[in-house]
Symmetry: C2
Subunit: 400 residues, 2 copies
């Protein structure tokens, strides 16, 4: 996209910043879903405690709940409290009740003593060691007071939020509607997947891989017909794509390509925020906006398309979906063997995470090598400013 507004090549971090600076947190329309359908959705209402959590003091251990006054370090076991029962009465001086984890602590309790730390002789227990006041007691409302916000609008609903919703009695929940992401592959050499390519053609793997990722990360994917290398059809398809919440264009953006995509976008009044990033694969990635819709032009080689979706377009998708906290894609792992690269570009390379947690590079044949990406179980992120890593050095890695 050589003729567009920006001639600057941004670093990975700068380009990511530009995405986050442009794409503000969305205010999606809301819908109500059953709890069983809520996983992976974005919370559209704050979740509040419907009562104090816990509602009454509870024991954190199996053992004995004792009165502050003992008889020379010993207590009479005057009863038992099971989970799900109210204590029969308050403790009297010199008394203990046997108590189970989760059971309600009676009034006048000094502490719970774990059963491993008492000596029991008949109906008398003795503490084997000192204890602190209110030890092993979870006080009423110590996790949350009734009405307190337990999860905010914009949180991703995972298993722990499902547990939270169930705990406060919500069998339905308000969630954000999924943003619609249209996906457009371009190029005369790209065929629908059911067709038989000749040696110069490839099947449209990018649209399907992007749709899989869009769905995984909470968007609703729509695959458009493949755009031919022809101006009018390309413009019409892009114009339709811009009717979505986000448009992903695969191919047509490298400096070597014929510029139907660029011409079409220019016709549609596109503004470009970047069109070149110092990364590999994915250098000619384009990010812009036209007709109030953000679009990404992702380089058409399969590894380039996938990587640039994950490191740039996903951030936009998550913002548009109303998610306040992005997915965690990056972490660290020790290098199994020495690794070197030519500094200047941040590289995202197919890697192997071994059983001991260390990682190494996989051989690959450039950014068209889908089999290598399929073999990888992690992506190594090589810092643009560093030349080499010794075995055992910590590397940044990206989940696959």
């Amino acid at each position: 996209m050589s003729n567009s507004a920006n001639a600057i090549a941004y670093t990975f971090a700068e380009a990511r910043e530009r995405v986050l600076a442009q794409v503000l947190l969305g205010k999606p329309a809301l819908e109500r879903v059953w709890l069983s359908e809520a996983v992976g959705r974005v919370l559209g209402e704050a979740i509040r405690a419907d009562r104090d959590m816990p509602p009454l003091p509870r024991s954190l251990r199996d053992g004995f709940v004792v009165h502050a006054q003992s008889r020379d370090g010993a207590w009479d076991v005057a009863g038992e409290i099971k989970a799900g029962q109210m204590p029969m009465r308050a403790l009297a001086p010199g008394e203990a009740f046997a108590i189970m984890t989760g059971a309600i602590v009676p009034d006048s309790a000094a502490a719970v003593i774990m059963k491993e730390h008492v000596t029991r002789e008949g109906s008398v227990v003795r503490a084997d060691r000192a204890f602190q006041s209110r030890e092993w007691i979870s006080e009423a409302a110590s996790m949350a007071q009734s009405g307190a916000v337990l999860a905010e609008v914009g949180a991703l609903i995972d298993a722990s939020l499902v547990a939270l919703l169930a705990t406060v009695g919500q069998s339905q929940v308000t969630v954000a509607q999924k943003p619609i992401v249209r996906i457009l592959s371009t190029g005369d050499e790209v065929l629908d997947i059911a067709r038989q390519p000749n040696p110069t053609q490839v099947r449209n793997s990018n649209a399907w891989a992007l749709a899989a990722e869009v769905q995984r990360f909470g968007g609703a994917a729509e695959i458009l017909p493949i755009a031919p290398d022809e101006e009018k059809a390309t413009r019409e398809l892009i114009a339709y794509g811009l009717g979505a919440d986000l448009l992903l264009i695969s191919g047509g953006v490298s400096a070597g390509d014929y510029d139907f995509v660029e011409v079409a976008l220019a016709h549609l009044g596109a503004e470009f925020y970047f069109d070149r990033v110092k990364i590999q694969p994915g250098q000619p990635t384009v990010f812009g906006r036209a007709k109030d819709t953000f679009f990404f032009g992702l380089p058409g080689n399969p590894l380039s398309t996938w990587v640039t979706f994950r490191i740039f377009a996903l951030a936009a998708l998550e913002r548009l979906s109303g998610r306040t906290v992005p997915s965690q894609q990056f972490s660290f792992a020790p290098a199994k063997e020495p690794i070197a690269h030519k500094p200047g570009l941040t590289r995202f390379l197919p890697g192997q995470r071994h059983a001991d947690g260390s990682v190494s590079l996989l051989p690959w044949q450039g950014s068209g090598d889908i089999p290598a990406l399929a073999r990888a179980n992690v992506i190594l992120v090589l810092d643009a400013e560093r030349e080499s890593w010794a075995a055992g050095d910590w590397l940044e890695v990206m989940t696959k």
Copy 2:
């Protein structure tokens, strides 16, 4: 489960080994699904290249493809090869063709020279630096030969496998049927989520959280009615649960509980592989088999249930689903602040991963503290044999 066969408390690693030693790779029945439904499923057929990949030599860069013979380091630009085109003819001595990334390399090509590394004057290009034979050429079949296996039975279908399937023209794929996982919560104090609990009762959050995780990791979840603290009903529900591929029982397994679950399992001829693990939360976790079905007794506190599912039951679920490579849950992160614990148990504690990648512990109120788990964005795994970590030390972490 004090009366069962094993009195030994295993370490975390030993207990995991026992799960993997017992639960062999499943041979699930197969079904055929459309590519759009395939993500998250387990491959039930090997995916093979339907032609050489690439079918013909391709250029890895935009630039010029040159004949081995130059005229004093210069070539006449005699044509152009676009992606999707067959070269018009072989290169003749002294000739170059302009070529795009992905385009077919003509016969008699010595190498591709990147456009950044040539000087062009009219119809003549000159190389600015030396190049190697076949540089920037991806040879025919270099990624895979026709018929080669690109992904094996048992692989998880992620976006890269979707790309692979699309590339070889598979709009349908054979996958493993999902294992059926029945989920049984136990205890008189546990109420269905739509009901109003009194202060001694809790809603059935565990079954819903487990169902969410089972579905996320490729199982089909069935939530059973809550088992009361009564022998006959418990036995009937467990017997029904054992008709699934895997049974998860939440609660009823801690030493302090009334032993209806244990009695019922004994009646059903259960064999126990472990019933205590040196972990926190989740110490009284039970793993066994009855009527040829594996079951887990997961301690009923919400954090215990969730953690023990993830560190033990998930391994069984993945094996039963036919997955040959387990999910990657564990990685490493630097401690933000000093962390200490009492050695002896491996601890799985709610944590916070910060923007710089470092992690710290979150305050929590014991294994009933669902709000703390909901606030966490990572789980810190504290080694049973180590007492403390300084700021910057590398900690094991588990994804949430």
